[in-house]
Each structure stands twice: as C-alpha cells, then as structure tokens.
C-alpha cells in the first residue's frame, strides 16, 4: 500500500474484526456450513464475521452470491467505481471496518488514493472529476434518503456519461453496503492493530 490514511476516525489500514456473540467453531460446523464458508470468501474459515453469520448458512450463502455478483461481475461499471460507491456508503453509515477494506480495494484498482482521502475528509464534496462527484452524490442520496431518489437523480448520472448498466451496478453496490454495513456495525467491532 502506498500511503497510510487516517482521517476523522477512518483509515485504509488493515483492520481485524471480532464478533460480540458466539461464533460457530469449525470443529462443530456441519458439512453445509463448511461448504457455504468456502463459497463465501477465501478467508471465511478464519473470519469471525463469516463464522458468526454461518449460524444461518442458507441466508449467508445467498448474501454471498449477491455480494460477489454485484462487486465482481465483468462489464458495466468499472470495479474501482463500485468500490468507491461502497466506500462512500461505509463513510456515511460510519462503518470504519468496511470503509478500510473498500478504500484499499479502490486503491488497488484505481492506483490512486485521492478520491478516498476526499471521501474520508468530506463525502459531500468528494470526487476528483464530474463523473466521480456524481457517483458520490448518488451514493449519499440512496444511502441517506432512498425515498428522495427520483428520475432527476438518475438523469444526473446519465449526464456525466454513465450507461444504464453502470447505473444499475452503482445502485446494487450502494444497496449491498446498506446490508453489509449493518452487519459489521451491529454484530461486532473492528480491531485496530
């Protein structure tokens, strides 16, 4: 990683996470639980987050399929921009853990940190281009006020050149972090190295 960022309690450093209630122990896990862990994430078997959620394996499985399809599907919105959307949502919701992970992914894909520094500093004005600012504004609106999202909100994205598939990918990325942030925030806490 190029430079460590620490702004307003948010960071791009690698954090841990621990659950507040009992996790499933691998020794006691059913074959179904093991299979779902393996499908969900390469590190799921050593992650408190996945070991906690696997108390309900079928629900975790569908969440993981949705998450991976949204964040990694080819075509449509560039993956760096999906990660930017995820970082904005995590910043708005106050999810320090998710913000750190997705700030890192943005950096890896975009090969720069400027937009992350801006999002951490002041999401309302963040974005290094018109296109990025429109993506950030839409991410904030859909996170904070989904009831206000209107045809004009969509038109604003089209005006800076987003295709309908890119807009769909952005909506999905924002929405899946409404989901992810709420799990990370309410089931445990980040651990700072």
């Amino acid at each position: 990683m190029s430079e460590r960022i620490e702004i307003k309690g948010f960071t791009n450093a690698t954090l841990g996470w621990k659950a507040w209630l009992d996790v499933v122990s691998l020794d006691a896990a059913t074959p179904e639980q093991i299979a779902v862990l393996e499908e969900s994430h390469p590190q799921a078997k050593v992650s408190d987050y996945y070991l906690f959620l696997v108390h309900q394996p079928e629900i975790l499985k569908q969440r993981s399929v949705a998450f991976n399809a949204i964040m990694y599907a080819p075509g449509g919105m560039p993956r760096a921009e999906r990660e930017l959307g995820a970082t904005v949502v995590s910043r708005i919701n106050g999810c320090v853990y998710c913000a750190s992970v997705h700030a890192q992914r943005f950096e890896q894909l975009a090969k720069r940190t400027d937009a992350v520094i801006e999002v951490f500093t002041d999401p309302q004005t963040a974005g290094t281009s018109e296109r990025e600012r429109a993506i950030v504004q839409f991410s904030i609106e859909l996170t904070s006020h989904p009831e206000r999202v209107s045809p004009a909100s969509i038109q604003a994205l089209k005006n800076v050149g987003l295709t309908e598939l890119e807009i769909l990918d952005l909506m999905h990325s924002v929405a899946i972090f409404a989901w992810a942030n709420r799990l990370m925030l309410n089931l445990g806490e980040p651990i700072f190295a």
Binding site: I59, R63, A69, L165, V174, A175, R182, L187
Partner: protein, 174 residues
C-alpha cells in the same frame, strides 16, 4: 412469448415496481440475473415459513417497521399486506406502523423491534449493549443472526426498489 397483460412476475421487486419485460429498465436489471436471483432467494430464505426460530409474523413485523422507518411506501405496503393475509391483529400493525414500539406488550417482540429501529435509523449507534439485549430477551444466537440479516436485507431491498423505480419513471417520462 410473454403476454404482457397476463405477466405476473414471481420476482418480488419486479412485481412491486411493475417492471415488465417491455421496459428497458427490466432489460437492464435482468442483465444482472445472478443478482436478481440471489436477491429473490435471500428474501425467500428470510421469510421461509419453515425457518426455525423467529416466527414468520415476527419477521414480517420487523420488515414492516424497517420499511416504515426508512421510509419505503412500496415495500411497507407489501409487508403490511402479507401480515394482513396472516390475520395479524390490526392493533399490533398500527403500533408498528406508528413506530410506537414501547407499547408492544410481548417483551421478545419489543426487543426485536427496538433493535431494528436502531439499526435502520442510526446504524452507527448499534453497539454491543443493543445486541446483547437480544439474548437477554430470550433469542438464541442463530435467531440473532436471522434478525440481523433480515434488517440488513430489507435495508438493501428498499434501496434496490428506490433506484429501479426512479430509473423506470425516468424511462416513462421520455
């Protein structure tokens, strides 16, 4: 071939926003069919009547509260209708729709709704004490996971609905 007049989508989100195959918003949405399928299967899993633990009525009441607070009229109407179908008493539905959770008499349900309210309106303040109130109210850990996933899923669903609905309305203005 699909007859438009008879088109009855089995997909909840398509049905809620009347997204039919002749609309370009429908075509775009279904370019991400893996997401469409996993979203629908998530909903079906979370509201599976045979899921052990939280009753279906408890889960639907949590969803109704989450949609009411967000707010999402379309999704709130959907969960309200499912509760009416299960003949849940109107008084309880009214309390949830007005957000008067303190007046819910069942302590276990009250604890679930209180936790849901925090997670929807103020997720950053969902602290350890808020979570541990659930086992104290008698919920097992798998039940806590169901509840947390349910609230988080509905937070996702209302945003997908809001975004797609805006896209559809823009298309229809053109």
């Amino acid at each position: 071939m699909i007859l438009m007049t008879n088109y009855l989508p089995s997909d909840t989100i398509d049905r809620l926003i009347k997204l039919t195959p002749e609309l370009s918003t429908f075509t775009v949405r279904h370019q991400r069919d893996k997401v469409v399928a996993a979203t629908q299967k998530s909903e079906e899993g979370l509201f599976d009547p045979t899921l052990p633990g939280l009753t279906l009525v408890e889960r639907l009441l949590v969803a109704l509260l989450a949609c009411t607070l967000t707010p999402s009229e379309l999704c709130a109407a959907e969960y309200h209708q499912r509760l009416v179908h299960l003949k849940v008493e109107q008084n309880l539905l009214d309390l949830v729709k007005r957000g008067e959770i303190e007046q819910v008499t069942d302590a276990r349900l009250r604890a679930m709704l209180t936790f849901s309210r925090t997670l929807i309106t103020d997720p950053v303040n969902a602290d350890q004490a808020a979570l541990k109130a659930l086992p104290q109210a008698g919920l097992s850990t798998p039940e806590v996971v169901t509840l947390a996933q349910l609230i988080a899923f509905v937070s996702y669903q209302v945003r997908v609905v809001a975004g797609l609905n805006a896209m559809k309305l823009l298309e229809q203005q053109a």
